[in-house]
Each structure stands twice: as C-alpha cells, then as structure tokens.
C-alpha cells in the first residue's frame, strides 16, 4: 500500500525531531567528553544506559497514553505494587525463576492498567483524574499488601537480584529487555493497525471516529500498554535495587513525562515517536550524569532537568507553530 501524504508528512517530521535530538546530544557530549574523556568510556556509557533502562520502559508506556491525548500519573504506583508483588513472591518462594517473576509483574501491571483504561474509556473520567485517583489507590494497595514492611536484599533470591546484571554479548539483560521493549513498541506504533489508530485518536478523535476507529478500544489499549510496561519495570526495579520498598518509584511519573516531552511528544496528542522518547530518556540520563563533570553539585540535578524540559518544550512548541503557519500559508496559496 502506498503511503498517504499524511503518513509521509508524519514520518518526515518525526525523522527531523529525532535528528535534532541526536544533534543536541552530540553537541552536549563534545564539551563533556573534552572535559572528562572518561565520560564516553565503555564502562561509563554502559552505566548510564543501565541507569536509564527502566525509565525508558516506563516512558514508552507513558508515550502511548500521551499520544492518545491523555496522561498516566499512576506509573510510579503501578511500579511499586508490581515490584512489591514480585519481591514478596520471591521471598516466599525463592526458587521462582526470575523470568516467571517478570511475567507475573507484567500481568499484574496489565490488570492495573486495564482498570485505568476501563475507567477512562467507559466511565468517561478524564485520564488525569482517573490516574490521580489510582496513583493513591495503587500506592495504598502496596502498603496493604506489604503490611508496611520492606523486602530487603537478603530476603530476595540471589538469582533474582543477579538477573538484570547478567550479560549477553556484553550487554546486561536489563538493557536487552529495554531494547526489546523499544523495538517491539516501535513496531506496534508504526506497523500495526491499532498502533496507527492511537495516532489517529490523539490527532483528531472526531475524524478518527468517522473513519471507524473504536475510540474506547484505543483508550483501553494505551493504558493496558502503559500498565504492562510498568509491571515489567516493577519486576526489574525490585531486582536491580535489590529491595522492595513501599515508597519506591514515588514521583516517577514526572520523569516519564519529562522523557516524553524531551522526545518531542506533543501534549495535545497525535505526535511523536518511540525513537524520540528513547532519545529523550537518554538525553535525560546524559545530562544527569554529566553534572559532576562540570563540577555542579548533584543537588542542582532537579533544577537542570526542569530547565531542559522547559527549553525542549518551548522549542517543540515554536517549531510546531511555525509548521502550522506554513501549512496554513500553503493552503491559502
């Protein structure tokens, strides 16, 4: 099937956005690596990538929700609940294979995401309110489940803790999983009917409905995807940080949204891509890790992150507005 002009346009702008991000990343990396040649040493790069892997997985889920025109504030709580489930199962049955644990985390996350999605699609509750409610409910459920106690490192099976650190071809399992999630979700967003329907609903819900897109189905699916990925992230989180704490991943939703914003995802919905989000996550990771290199105290990390988000946002908006103006001019001509 030949590409429609609309599709080519979307693809072209996305390619440009991702290109801009890569250039920005390079521009950022040059002075940093001059200042500290060790920054780009394989071990440090590996460390940064591993640090960002979980965020990348969660940010991709958040991406689909934002793409559909919504927002998912509950990601941190879903991670906490699934992480706690995985941790407690591992504590009770140390012989459980890590893969099975991840699968359990993934399924529990899917159920939580489904609950969000059903409330949004069939309860017609705005996504921000739904997830503002469930961020509390899921966090509360985590406390109820654990009875307020933690699962500490020595209560977890060594095999589970070691799982994300195991390597294959020199790359950690954690990173492989993140890369697999990126690849899979890239395929889903670009080459499946449902994936394209998410773009359609986000871009123009009314038009999408007229061409036969089932809006409710799409809204449920985006939250299902987000919940599932958060569940996976929860299982990985407990293993990587070798503990399951009730407060884990508090405020993680802001990081996930930030990665999306940096990746050029539009809050109005319908624009952006997985590769952009992955690059946005990487960008966030590089900036965070580069602070000590420029002799800035880690205490300034939050400030710098906020500033970068604001700049990225302003640049996105300005380029969007220019494009819009150009399109209007072309239409008039």
């Amino acid at each position: 099937m030949a590409d429609t002009p609309f599709k080519t346009m979307v693809r072209r702008t996305m390619a440009r956005r991702e290109l801009t991000l890569m250039v920005l990343l390079a521009v950022l990396l040059i002075p940093i690596s001059i200042r500290s040649p060790l920054f780009l040493a394989p071990s440090n790069v590996n460390r940064i990538l591993n640090d960002m892997a979980i965020l990348a997985i969660v940010a991709i889920g958040e991406f689909f929700v934002i793409l559909s025109g919504g927002i998912d504030l509950s990601v941190g709580s879903v991670i906490a609940f699934t992480g706690m489930v995985c941790g407690m199962i591992n504590e009770a049955h140390p012989a459980t294979s890590p893969l099975l644990l991840l699968l359990i985390g993934l399924s529990v996350g899917a159920v939580l995401g489904l609950f969000n999605g059903v409330l949004v699609a069939y309860g017609k509750i705005p996504p921000i309110i739904t997830t503002l409610g469930t961020v509390n409910i899921y966090r509360g459920m985590t406390f109820l489940l654990s009875g307020g106690s933690w699962v500490t490192a020595h209560e977890l099976a060594p095999a589970y803790i070691a799982f994300p650190r195991k390597t294959f071809l020199g790359i950690s399992y954690l990173l492989w999983i993140a890369l697999a999630a990126i690849a899979l979700m890239y395929y889903f967003s670009q080459h499946t009917r449902t994936g394209r329907e998410v773009y359609a609903i986000g871009g123009n819900p009314t038009a999408a409905k007229f061409v036969g897109v089932n809006e409710n189905k799409v809204r449920v699916i985006v939250f299902l995807v987000s919940g599932t990925l958060c569940g996976l992230a929860g299982g990985l989180w407990t293993a990587r940080y070798a503990s399951a704490v009730n407060e884990m991943a508090t405020g993680f939703e802001m990081q996930a949204v930030a990665a999306c914003v940096l990746g050029g995802v539009n809050f109005a919905g319908g624009a952006g891509g997985i590769i952009g989000v992955a690059l946005g996550t990487l960008f966030l990771g590089v900036v965070t890790n580069a602070l000590p290199v420029v002799y800035l105290s880690v205490f300034w990390q939050t400030f710098v992150q906020g500033l970068i988000i604001l700049i990225a946002l302003a640049l996105n908006t300005i380029s969007d507005q220019r494009k819009h103006k150009r399109m209007l001019a072309e239409r008039r001509a």
């Binding site: 509390n136 509360g140 406390f143 914003v261 300034w300 400030f303 992150q305 604001l310």
Partner: protein
C-alpha cells in the same frame, strides 16, 4: 368551560412533578451529596470514637489541613479555566527557602512576609506568562517549573535545614485567636474562602472564569481577555503559595528542600473532589470547602481510630473517582427519566 378542572388538575400534577424533579435535581448535585458524605463522616467517627466530636480536637485538627485548603482556593480559578498547576508545592518550597534564608540573615517578620509573597507572585507570573505567550499546555509548563522551582531550593539548600526564625514568627501557624480555641490559620482560611466565593459567584471576574472554562474561543470572541485572566490566575496562585509558605514555615519552624512534597496532587484532589470539573467551567467554592473538610476530618478520624494512612490514600483515591463517576451516572439517570416522562 368543562375542561377547566381537568386543566387545573393537570397543572397541579405538573407542579407536583416539577417539585419532585426539582428535589431530585437538588439532591443529586455533587455538592449536596458531598454534604451528606461530610455528615456521614462525622456521624461515623462520633460513633467510633468519643474523642472525635470534641470542639478542642475538631479545631486542633484544622492545623493539619488549613494550608492545603487555602491553596485549593486559587487552584479553583486555575482549574475553572481548564488549566492546571502542578508546580505549587515547588513554589511553596522556594518561598519557604527564601523565608528561612532571610530569617537566618536576621530579617524582620514583615520583611519575611513581603519576600515570600513577592517570590511566590513572581514564580506564578512566570508560569502564567510561559503558558499563555507561547500557548503551551499548562500541565507541561508547570511540570518543568515544578522541577525548576524545587531544584532551586534543593540546589541552594542541599541537605541543610533552616531553623532560625524571629521570636514571634510562630504566631501565624501555631497560635489561636486570643481567648478562643480557634486556630488563626483556620480563621484566615474561612475569611479567604468567603472572599473567593464572593469573587467566583458574585463578580464579573468570576463569571468570566466560567465562560472561559466552558469555551475559551467563545469567551475570547465575546471580548474577554482570556490571556490576561489566565495570567492573573497563575499569578494569584503564586501569591497564595507565598502566603502558604509563611504559614507552613511558621507552623513547623523548619525549612528543608523537600518541604510540601506531594501537595500538588493533594490540592488538585481537593478541588476536583469539591466538584470542580477538570475540563473547566463547572464547580463552586462551597463544594471545595465541604470537600476540604471531608478530607481533613476523614484523615483526623482515621488517625483517631489508629487506621493507617494507607487506607486513607485508598479512600481518597476512590472518592476522587466517585466524585467524577457518580455525577455522570446521575446525569444518565436524569436523562433517562426525562425521556420516560416525555414518552
């Protein structure tokens, strides 16, 4: 002539029905439901604990929620226009830092107040200007400024705390109105609540907020300066962040960079629970007032019963979803009734 009694009977019937309708209309308003919930909360906790319905305890409990309830007031204006501000907790932290730092330098109480209000107002103004001039979504901008404002206080304060304050600084957040058991904070809240109710429901400005919330386009075409009003809302909210920072710092007499963390979502919850539509254009100050009391006394009561804060978060989360879901279901029910009656 002979048809007249029939008509009278019919009109009487219609009157009765419309009375019933009006009653149903009234009883199914979210604010009224919320009032019942509030009464339920009081009855329930009074039955469960003999310490609940005690004037001293009830008044003392207001210390725990007055500041958040105050912040919910300007947030009504923002949400009424279809905007949102998730940077308020960070502005409070920034103001509190400035207050703590200035107090360390020996500033007097009036100076501290002016500084806090000034910093808060400027931070709010920056939000408003960024959002309206570049036409960026409020949630995205305030997400960024949330990190920026919080980041400044973390960057400057690090893991330190500021605990040196002028002698009488604790008055605002700790003292009672002389001769009574009513906290000054709570009185301030009640006054501000009435003021906001007046502005929202009795002035042109308030009506304009509803207009913008219902349709920004239509509001603009009818000559309302939408941009200016949105900037004023954000600036006003910043101003109140400055006020809240004073109250908070005065109450706990200690400023750390993580002060007021998580308040954004809690305050938005109060507003939405109070019946203000997140899409804008619908809601009342009275609803938010009752909502704030419900949440405040739920927390207090559950604390008395030694129930964990956990259960509390679940209850509040569920209430929030109910607050939006229930009116929708009631609307459906009403629409069905109307259809049946027409048939």
């Amino acid at each position: 002539m002979e048809k007249q009694p029939d008509l009278v009977a019919k009109s009487r019937l219609i009157d009765e029905m419309s009375f019933k309708n009006r009653f149903i209309e009234f009883i199914t308003q979210w604010e009224v439901i919320l009032l019942f919930i509030a009464v339920g909360v009081f009855v329930f906790f009074n039955a469960k604990s003999r310490y609940f319905l005690d004037w001293f305890n009830l008044m003392n409990a207001t210390f725990q929620f007055s500041e958040k309830a105050i912040m919910a007031l300007p947030m009504i204006f923002i949400i009424m226009c279809g905007d949102i501000d998730i940077s308020i907790a960070s502005i409070i932290a920034l103001c509190a830092y400035v207050v703590g730092q200035a107090a360390l330098g020996g500033a007097s109480i009036p100076t501290l107040i002016v500084l806090s209000l000034l910093v808060g107002t400027l931070a709010g103004l920056f939000n408003g200007v960024m959002i309206t001039t570049l036409e960026m979504p409020a949630i995205a901008v305030t997400l960024a400024t949330q990190s920026i404002y919080r980041g400044i206080s973390i960057g400057l304060l690090g893991d330190q705390a500021r605990t040196k304050f002028p002698a009488n600084f604790g008055v605002f957040g700790q003292q009672f109105v002389p001769g009574t058991i009513i906290p000054i904070e709570f009185v301030l809240y009640l006054i501000l609540m009435l003021l906001f109710a007046f502005i929202l429901h009795k002035t042109t400005y308030g009506r304009r907020l509803y207009a913008i919330g219902n349709s920004p386009e239509a509001a603009r075409f009818s000559g309302i300066n939408v941009k200016a009003i949105r900037i004023i809302n954000f600036t006003l909210t910043g101003f109140f962040c400055g006020l809240t920072a004073i109250l908070l710092a005065s109450r706990i007499l200690s400023v750390r960079s993580n002060i007021a963390t998580g308040w954004d979502l809690e305050i938005i919850t109060l507003v939405v629970l109070g019946g203000v539509a997140i899409t804008g254009g619908k809601g009342s100050v009275f609803g938010v007032f009752v909502g704030s009391l419900v949440v405040g006394y739920l927390k207090f009561g559950m604390g008395l019963l030694k129930l964990s804060g956990t259960l509390m978060t679940i209850v509040i989360g569920s209430l929030l979803i109910t607050a939006v879901l229930l009116p929708r279901l009631l609307d459906l029910y009403k629409a069905n009734r109307k259809l049946r009656m027409q048939a």
